[in-house]
Symmetry: C2
Subunit: 110 residues, 2 copies
DNA sequence: TGGCTATTTGGCTATATGGCCAAATACGAA
DNA sequence: TTCGTATTTGGCCATATAGCCAAATAGCCA
């Protein structure tokens, strides 16, 4: 790869990687609807608080979420809501995959 | 996480994960322009053929690319071109990050 | 068929990640 | 200041991934 292009692709990959986890996708979706504190997200995900905190730091580190403290909770919110537009296409891929799978099964029966 | 939702998020995460690598992003971008065989991609990326082959199998396994053989090469193509629309938003995040960074630097000087 | 090239697979190592626990920290409120 | 709750961090283990090499496979073409 041309060296000059590498940082660009690495930066993009980092963002995609930050999104590429089931729990983090759930959080992103939730945070698009409304901001949430760590505790609330922990309940939704149903795992250890420390795990959720680490997931959030991945998202924050990628610049996908921002946080601010109010009262004694830290609220997270989605920084670029367009992120969720991704999902339309992701779903398209998934249904294309399902379609293929169906075809394959059919042709196996023959 | 509600058990019924898990498979859905896992499927989505798998697709994002498949995209989340610099070399694979480069390939995806290239394959949107035109189909390419393993050898051509290997040259572009500048790494071992076997590595590229494995990257391609990740993409294929996620349903992002399809391949077919012609003459004695195997040509890969992008299955869902909408995938690249992602990048607009990814870039948006990146420039928001850059903006933040700039602000931070400024406020440090004060 | 047999050779040749393109591609994939297996094996290995180094590195990164997710998850849990325990401990540390941060900060608002009394 | 001190307490108590919310959050983060460090440590550990199990698992996954990238990359390279060597070897196996696949399938065109003479």
């Amino acid at each position: 790869m041309k060296e000059s292009l590498r940082p660009r692709y690495e930066a993009r990959a980092k963002i995609l990687k930050a999104m590429a986890h089931p729990s983090r996708l759930l959080m992103i979706e939730e945070l698009q609807k409304q901001e949430r504190c760590v505790n609330e997200l922990t309940e939704m995900i149903g795992t250890d608080t420390s795990t959720v905190s680490k997931h959030l730091s991945v998202l924050k580190n990628a610049g996908l979420v921002a946080d601010d403290r109010r009262a004694n909770c830290i609220y997270y919110r989605l920084r670029c809501p367009c992120i969720l537009d991704f999902m339309g296409c992701v779903e398209e891929v998934l249904s294309a995959n399902a379609e293929d799978h169906k075809k394959m099964m059919k042709s196996c029966k023959k």
